[in-house]
Symmetry: D2
Subunit: 470 residues, 4 copies
Amino acid sequence: MQTFELYLAGRFIQTNDVLQVNDKYTQVPFAKTFLAGPKEFESAIQQAEDSKSALANWPIFERFSTLNQIAERIQHSREELATLLSRESAKPMMYALAEINRAAQTFSAAATACRNLTGEIIRLDWTPNGKGRTGYVQPFPIGVVAGISPFNFPMNLAVHKLAPALAVGCPIILKPASSTPLSTLALAKILDQCGVPRGAVSILPSTRETGMALVTDDRIKLLSFTGSPEVGWYLKEKSGKKKTVLELGGNAGVIISKSAQLEEIITKCIVGAFSYSGQVCIHAQRFFVHRDHYPTFLDLMLSAAKRLKIGSPLDSLTEFSVMIDAENAQRVDTWVDEAIATGAKAVLRGNRMKNHLDPIILTQTQAEMKVRREEAFGPVICIEPFDTIEEAVALVNEGRFGLQCGIFTEKVDEIDYSYTHLEVGGVIHNDVPTLRFDHMPYGGVKDSGMGREGVKYAMQDMMEMRVLVK
Amino acid sequence: MQTFELYLAGRFIQTNDVLQVNDKYTQVPFAKTFLAGPKEFESAIQQAEDSKSALANWPIFERFSTLNQIAERIQHSREELATLLSRESAKPMMYALAEINRAAQTFSAAATACRNLTGEIIRLDWTPNGKGRTGYVQPFPIGVVAGISPFNFPMNLAVHKLAPALAVGCPIILKPASSTPLSTLALAKILDQCGVPRGAVSILPSTRETGMALVTDDRIKLLSFTGSPEVGWYLKEKSGKKKTVLELGGNAGVIISKSAQLEEIITKCIVGAFSYSGQVCIHAQRFFVHRDHYPTFLDLMLSAAKRLKIGSPLDSLTEFSVMIDAENAQRVDTWVDEAIATGAKAVLRGNRMKNHLDPIILTQTQAEMKVRREEAFGPVICIEPFDTIEEAVALVNEGRFGLQCGIFTEKVDEIDYSYTHLEVGGVIHNDVPTLRFDHMPYGGVKDSGMGREGVKYAMQDMMEMRVLVK
Amino acid sequence: MQTFELYLAGRFIQTNDVLQVNDKYTQVPFAKTFLAGPKEFESAIQQAEDSKSALANWPIFERFSTLNQIAERIQHSREELATLLSRESAKPMMYALAEINRAAQTFSAAATACRNLTGEIIRLDWTPNGKGRTGYVQPFPIGVVAGISPFNFPMNLAVHKLAPALAVGCPIILKPASSTPLSTLALAKILDQCGVPRGAVSILPSTRETGMALVTDDRIKLLSFTGSPEVGWYLKEKSGKKKTVLELGGNAGVIISKSAQLEEIITKCIVGAFSYSGQVCIHAQRFFVHRDHYPTFLDLMLSAAKRLKIGSPLDSLTEFSVMIDAENAQRVDTWVDEAIATGAKAVLRGNRMKNHLDPIILTQTQAEMKVRREEAFGPVICIEPFDTIEEAVALVNEGRFGLQCGIFTEKVDEIDYSYTHLEVGGVIHNDVPTLRFDHMPYGGVKDSGMGREGVKYAMQDMMEMRVLVK
Amino acid sequence: MQTFELYLAGRFIQTNDVLQVNDKYTQVPFAKTFLAGPKEFESAIQQAEDSKSALANWPIFERFSTLNQIAERIQHSREELATLLSRESAKPMMYALAEINRAAQTFSAAATACRNLTGEIIRLDWTPNGKGRTGYVQPFPIGVVAGISPFNFPMNLAVHKLAPALAVGCPIILKPASSTPLSTLALAKILDQCGVPRGAVSILPSTRETGMALVTDDRIKLLSFTGSPEVGWYLKEKSGKKKTVLELGGNAGVIISKSAQLEEIITKCIVGAFSYSGQVCIHAQRFFVHRDHYPTFLDLMLSAAKRLKIGSPLDSLTEFSVMIDAENAQRVDTWVDEAIATGAKAVLRGNRMKNHLDPIILTQTQAEMKVRREEAFGPVICIEPFDTIEEAVALVNEGRFGLQCGIFTEKVDEIDYSYTHLEVGGVIHNDVPTLRFDHMPYGGVKDSGMGREGVKYAMQDMMEMRVLVK
């Protein structure tokens, strides 16, 4: 059984607190690592603090070179990293490989972004007392950053914190999900070989309690959290004087308008609905379909869902596998039961066994049902009809979330109306909300979070502007 | 008869060379001004040169205040200025008033733009030898600017040179069209009252020969010309070491796609076709209409053109009046004769008398006919059918011009395809190419010119970047 | 006695809870207004929420016109507004007039800034799956904004919240300090006359308890607070799901280096030290002087401080008057006593009577003394020597605040070193930290706050980016 | 003898017109290539035109990958490429290697820059008729680009045209100097292996006459020329309807102020003065030294110049070798003779033999002497004293050139005054004007050229903005 050491400010260490990591498909432990304790966190924070100045002065040519090297090594080890990721998360290999590719791309985008760190010169003679005066506005690294990342993209969502921090020149302490800590610890080895300054990065799995040090310690200037809304908003409250960026989830909607070409979109819709069993922040959970298309769309989705290849995540052909754990499978199943009990109809529903849960398609749902109102984070979708684009947009806007939305339409006025009125961070034209490019701004409004990631956007929150009035 | 003095570097002067200005509708002289000679140009250039440094150091709060005051005074005198403009150009009052409004708006946009003059700070440590080095990139005024403006928008097209020059801090010498010099000379009085630094502005009507000083003199660093393609490209050749911005004309196209709603667009099309007798750089000259709409569109345009209220430009209800002079009316009429002689069909054609020429609608034209290939700059349009959007775009792209194009469509793919493939400076969705906002980038490709105007865009060509490596 | 009504979503109202406002110099009530209660806050928040969409769609030309009109009317009523401000705050007229000018300028800057609201188009084909895809990133108003503003700049620090909110298109509810509510209520009348959309603005003095609705209500999306560090950080903790911008105070430092010309800088230093009795967020509290200059600087400051014209704030020649209230005067006086008791030496110290407190100059202070460590917000300064620029910068960086710093030097390496190493939001070359231009980024690091104001910078926090992937 | 084939739109070809290339140090032919004739130019232009659309649609991920690959291969072959460059140009290996490094860096900067191609979204509702309208401004490739590059940096100055063109998506035809065509033809092989689209690039040495096709052909939309002022301005006149960017030379000045530390700057000054025998556009030709430093500086420069290691360029220790040809050596020598005949004094002067010319230091020169007024482009410098910074700046500004200037000073006011008043494209603080970073804006004012290079700056001239009004 392979052992993964923690990464503490540039050293690989072990603690007395062993953490067994299960293969989520076989449910058998296949690797071990450790939980960091208060001592490790204190050490990480202090060493990060001590390395602040070195990081801030890390020249761009070295940052650029290091970030590119990391991207290349990730790419070079992609099979190996994807296998590890697939085992610890039960993510089908095709998606695990895609995630590793994206992690490499995220580092590459950070390399580009660090070259783009620029300042602004403004004229101050807008008033007589500013005559002869000029303002020089430049960004400075904010200081120590803490990242907390979730299980569902154990590599790339962590990289979306690590890569921007390095690009800006901020030390960072990352707490990966304790169910899937291995991908980032494997990444730690790559970081370590590519010239990341000593002290700059720590990767420390821990209990949630111990990890609260990252939330409450005042030496940390930014907390960047990706995870569930409940936890996220709670952490903001406890975050003291630090900035917080919250990348939370939602119950993303999709609009299939009258002008959509159904045949061409089903593949995208099925991927948005069931990839990684819907355990995706921008999982396409609510489909709103123009009434003219409604019956056909339902049929097409049903047959496509039935064709999904279910099996072991390590099989390269597998499209759908198990969920992260039995608790979540049960939670989703219970929500579905509740929905059916209050009037919803299951067009498709298979069995659940432990953490195995088959794709589920519901109709006749109501806004207040949990499967529609809450973040399902599981393989369940709701498909409902609408009559006008205004109605469709209102349906997407119901409730408290607002991350992304997809809309399939060929009409200028429909896309314009939707973009203007959808209360979300991103509108995806002719694709599902599940689409994300790693260098685009990404993040939610309403209860889906605050702040934006997407490398250069994440970097903005990691900097403080300082003006020189000369 | 009112006398308008020349404006020479902050003084109003007269010369021995009197220029009578006709009321273009009555053909009777109604005002007089003067032609500047070589001596005046030399004096203007030298005083501009001498005032360079003062202009460059003109504080933003004063520029802002002056530019805003000018805008307000123009607005305050709009009736009077529009009447003058209408008389010297035969532009119907409704359009003359709109032009005066726009001139005020252009100065207001320049006031905003002068506050936005900013620089950029770039990091130079992309390579080891740049470690610790920073680049400060700031714009400096290019020096003396020369503007040559045409008769068709005697006020606003001159203002598109004057206002940016003042916003940047460049002295400028303007040569207005000698057929319509009065609007800018009236403007000179406003400039003079609003605190424009002495020496900064000269407005000098002259013969074309004398005016060549502005093209050939090496003290002038930028020539900004708006006028005909033939003259423009000739001036570029003669421009020596100076930069040139050429805002020339074209034979703008309009695409009416299958998804357009004909009833709603006819008013816009008629304005694009016949406002100021087509003497507009972005006159909608070539209409390409989806074959399904073709007969109806032709009918609607024909009846709408017949309803145009023709009369004296000073009448507030007049929509259509005379052309600038008999030569141009005759030229257009001859082109129409030629077109008909080689196969075109006149759906609408009235009489010509002196500079009076009625609206003309042609069909069955060919690409090589002058009415379609050249810039008509007169009240003639061609209406032709097409079958596919690709064909429509190819028709617009035929020939050597590329200024703006209008496209009426409700389909996303049609607007995307058109925007990507039309060889023009601007694509106007659901309107005619004749639409222009004064703060948007405006200018043509191919033989329609080089460079862009639109206040902040015009200002870019009036500045040189200077980097400080520290 | 004049009555000022509250401004509730476009209507002027009274409540049963009368608030007497004292003339701070005479200590006699001179006007009355009202305290808003929970009902008024609920109404304001709901009407703000209801007007969100109208505000978001408020066209730029109307915003621009309204913001400019407000600026002009403020300018037009400057004497009257300054007198009111002077009476309610005991701010000397020369400074009150300057503040009114600045408030007009802040609205003018907001007019400019609303025209500059732009978006970004990014290419998404950095990866093969982005081929043919483009990202359109545009800002949208964040929703309802709450502003809480302090007594010391009762007009302009409120305007720094109101003007940006209107420029962005966000409804705003402002709670002014209850000791100085009149300036903003006078401003409300101007806003009301200039076309601000109904429901967009409420101005509600209240008790601190009632005002907590602005902090805790989830319909409000941004809390912008200017005030004391203690209150600010507490409010952040209570702010729920909303963003917070905190403009807090500090104990700003000034560095007088060896190359400084003492004679030329004393006037600036005295203004930075004692204007408005030091009740300024960027009050120059700690002077660090090169040892060679130390004795002379002390002498010069002493005699200049003695020359300050002390008297009624309404006297146009008065440079120094009373503090806001007796409690604060006593607090400062006590801190000075404590400092002297533990070794500090008072070079200058007069008497205190009620809210009257004379200028105080201390030397031989220690880092841990309250007069040096805390925000004095009173007419006391510490003057200490240093030997090297590194030492001077370290002295400024001691402690927990970091707002602005002034440095007087003629040497390139000193200004570069200082700018790079000072932990502040702004470094002012050859002036005191008390200098601020209303359109420059302004805000602190460390305990001095988070986020930046300065119109366009304040606006950024009032917007959410929304990406359209096409 | 190695043969280098021409590169014609993606194919390597030979012509009947053989061009022998001398080793410039031994004066013996060491390689051969060919001259392109009118047929080759016609073919290159037409194929470039035909590939325009493919280039414009070349996805960013492929451009990025290709540009990075090119950078890596150049780096990988740096010894080999530097040796070739050294032989064809007599550039000492230490400088040849540096140039190859920079060429790789320029391609890397272009890779970064192609990801940064973005557009702008502007609001059009500044006026009522713009209500609901938005402007989308995006850059499009201008079309076919022609580059003409000089002998002195045969690789990197060509790369400054090739790399930006590929980053933008413009086909490019490059005419390298016929005395040093080999470096770019060796580069052609690398381009060919790295996925540059067929037709995108041609590299064609030719006679000046034949090469005029690049200047006069209307299918070419941009001429980017680096070379002598005389040729450059002549080409602008002949350039027809195309844009021109001219990177010409100058007689760059250096200011050594009173506050400069002489010992630390001599090495930089010697490199600026004599690297590659002064055959550098930003060769430090005129040194202006504060009178207090003047005698010492002269001494230090004299002894440093005498210590220069002179020899074969292929020797890795050689600092100074021969000039490009005997004609130029003789020209410079003659100018020196003339200067001495009219009063200048030679502090250092060795012999000339063929293209060998020793370093020359002159004093007591006059503004009108050719060694000071014209671009020497040879190993001669003038050293003169000054008394005030204003005088020094005026001396640098004398004459018709304005490329870059170096200034050594420790005083804020001197660097500010110089930056503001020097009529140049770049001011280098505490270094010689010879310093250039490949991603910074680079280019001259006055007779030194028009436009800026520096990858992203060069790219701006290779694009046309197109606005979509929606």
